[in-house]
């Protein structure tokens, strides 16, 4: 699902964020990306989502070499993956329903399809009754679940998340991770960057560890759950 081949990333005016990284994540895996601050976790995820492009090497996502994705093809490319952010990135002036519906609207779904899918996604994250609310009237944990509903509503095969539990207390964090596990059971590949080592240890999925842009540890393909 995701393959990094000798990938290096150097930001203009910055140091080496990633150095000659090789990584292979198969479809259906649940992978944690860990490492100290500045290790390059966010950078790795940005390369997957084509927010950044590699300075060296190849990044292959869902069978597509990101180097070969032209700028105007990026929106289409991004519709093939779901993204969850630490700060949710919800639109404050639109209801929960409209936020979750946005990816479907962009992809041109029919209205009744949109209704059905948004209801299903909100059901899945336990927010069916919050559909008409504005995001800022929800708790942080609820906002994060809206962000997750939006990421999965168009059923992408791959979900990436950058510190999705960064602002949540341990109980809420576990709840969010359990939600991700359910998507994984449904066949979605997950790549989650996190600082929460306790949680990672507790859940026991594959763990890829970065330090200063180098891969220093990988519990290996297929580790943990199938």
């Amino acid at each position: 699902m995701i393959r990094f081949e000798a990938v290096g990333k150097r930001y203009p005016g910055g140091g080496e964020a990633l150095a000659t990284l090789d990584l292979d994540i198969a479809a259906g895996e649940f992978v944690f990306l860990t490492g100290p601050s500045g290790a390059g976790k966010s950078t790795l995820l940005k390369l997957v989502a084509l927010i950044e492009r590699p300075s060296r090497g190849q990044v292959i996502v869902n069978g597509q070499n990101t180097r070969k994705v032209a700028r105007r093809r990026i929106p289409q490319f991004r519709r093939g993956l779901g993204m969850v952010f630490q700060d949710h990135k919800l639109l404050a002036d639109r209801s929960v329903f409209e936020n979750v519906a946005l990816p479907l609207l962009i992809a041109g779904y029919a209205e009744r399809d949109i209704n059905r899918r948004v209801r299903a996604a909100l059901d899945l994250v336990g927010l069916a009754d919050k559909a008409p609310r504005l995001p800022l009237t929800l708790s942080t944990g609820e906002q994060q679940r809206v962000g997750i509903a939006r990421a999965v509503v168009s059923k992408p095969p791959l979900l990436i998340a950058d510190e999705p539990t960064g602002n949540l207390d341990p109980a809420l964090s576990l709840e969010i991770m359990r939600l991700f596990e359910r998507f994984n059971e449904l066949g979605v590949t997950l790549l989650i960057a996190t600082h929460d080592i306790d949680l990672v240890t507790q859940l026991g999925h594959r763990r890829v560890e970065l330090v200063s842009g180098q891969l220093v540890g990988d519990t290996g393909l297929g580790h943990g759950r199938a």
Binding site: I51, P75, L105, G187
Partner: protein, 324 residues
């Protein structure tokens, strides 16, 4: 939580078909059209100022155009409605004047010829000028017999001029006086005004594009984070751009409607005095408004300029916003 539906691993699974996408596309347009209007309404003061400036910018050339058209309508009949005077040589008998008048009346392009004898002319002169005493002191009447010729209405200025020249070459004619110089001056002024209105149209049309472009640029700046989110979840440039284009369209359309209101008010305020002035020249003149065509041109032109302004702004600024 409800039981989750089974999710497959393929990327395109459940993706909408072509017909659905086309239908969705039109629905999006309709939603954007209304959505952008709603967005303007949510900042009523700022939007009002913008459309007011656009309205003024569009009302000026449109108003000038209305004035110029009216001035042209007013002067349309003048050049040919002008009588000209044919002065006989001194010493020519009145009978000669009568003969010439009779001949002239037979011409198709002449509707009336009046003979003013030297005596009548002198009498008029002394009555109007109050120079009675001085004129009575003269031994001889210095004035010639005169024909006042009225050409057929609707005759072009050149035809009238040719007609007058025809008299000049006749036996016993001293001078033909065709007083169209002031009409020509008036038409020259109208022509300058017409060109000026064209130039204002160009300049202020450009101004409208700049005003809308700048407003949309600020709008884009204010919605930067929203645009980033849209790009992150796969919004295409067209999708992100559309609401801004419709925003520009609305600014232009509402500005155009305002311009119509401004012009109608100005016309109403000017109608009385203009009518009096025009009545001095042409009794059955009525002030013409821009009409339905003018309304259509203002609203349509506004829509076009607004769209163009938004198009320029989005072309320049949306590209720069990328999620990081």
């Amino acid at each position: 939580m409800a039981a989750p539906e089974r999710r497959g691993g393929e990327l395109r699974r459940g993706a909408p078909g072509l017909l659905t996408r086309v239908r969705g596309y039109f629905r999006l347009h309709a939603q954007n059209l209304l959505g952008s209007l709603g967005r303007l309404a949510r900042q009523p003061l700022a939007s009002l100022l913008t459309v007011a400036v656009i309205g003024i910018a569009m009302a000026l050339p449109a108003g000038l155009d209305v004035l110029v058209n009216n001035a042209r309508a007013l002067s349309a009949g003048w050049a040919s409605a002008v009588d000209f005077s044919v002065y006989l040589e001194p010493g020519q008998p009145l009978a000669r004047a009568e003969t010439l008048a009779a001949e002239a009346r037979g011409q198709a392009d002449i509707v009336a010829v009046e003979v003013i004898s030297a005596e009548e002319a002198l009498a008029q002169l002394s009555r109007f000028t109050g120079m009675q005493a001085a004129l009575e002191a003269l031994d001889d009447n210095p004035l010639p017999h005169t024909l006042v010729v009225r050409p057929r209405p609707g005759l072009s200025a050149e035809a009238v001029s040719r007609l007058a020249d025809g008299f000049e070459s006749l036996e016993g004619i001293d001078l033909v006086q065709l007083d169209t110089a002031w009409v020509e001056r008036f038409l020259a002024i109208v022509d300058i005004a017409r060109r000026a209105s064209g130039i204002t149209l160009l300049l202020l049309g450009f101004a409208v594009v700049v005003i809308v472009g700048n407003t949309i640029r600020l709008d884009i700046e204010n919605r930067r984070s929203e645009i980033e989110v849209m790009k992150l979840i796969g919004g295409s440039d067209g999708f992100i751009r559309r609401p801004f284009l419709y925003g520009g369209l609305w600014y232009g359309v509402i500005g155009g409607l305002l311009a119509v209101v401004f012009n109608a008010s100005a016309l109403l305020a000017l109608a009385g005095p203009v009518q009096r002035l025009a009545g001095l020249y042409n009794a059955d003149f009525a002030l013409q408004g821009p009409g339905l065509t003018g309304l259509g041109v203002l609203v349509g032109g506004g829509a076009l300029l607004g769209w163009l302004g938004a198009w320029v702004a989005t072309s320049r600024h949306l590209r720069d916003i990328e999620p990081t």
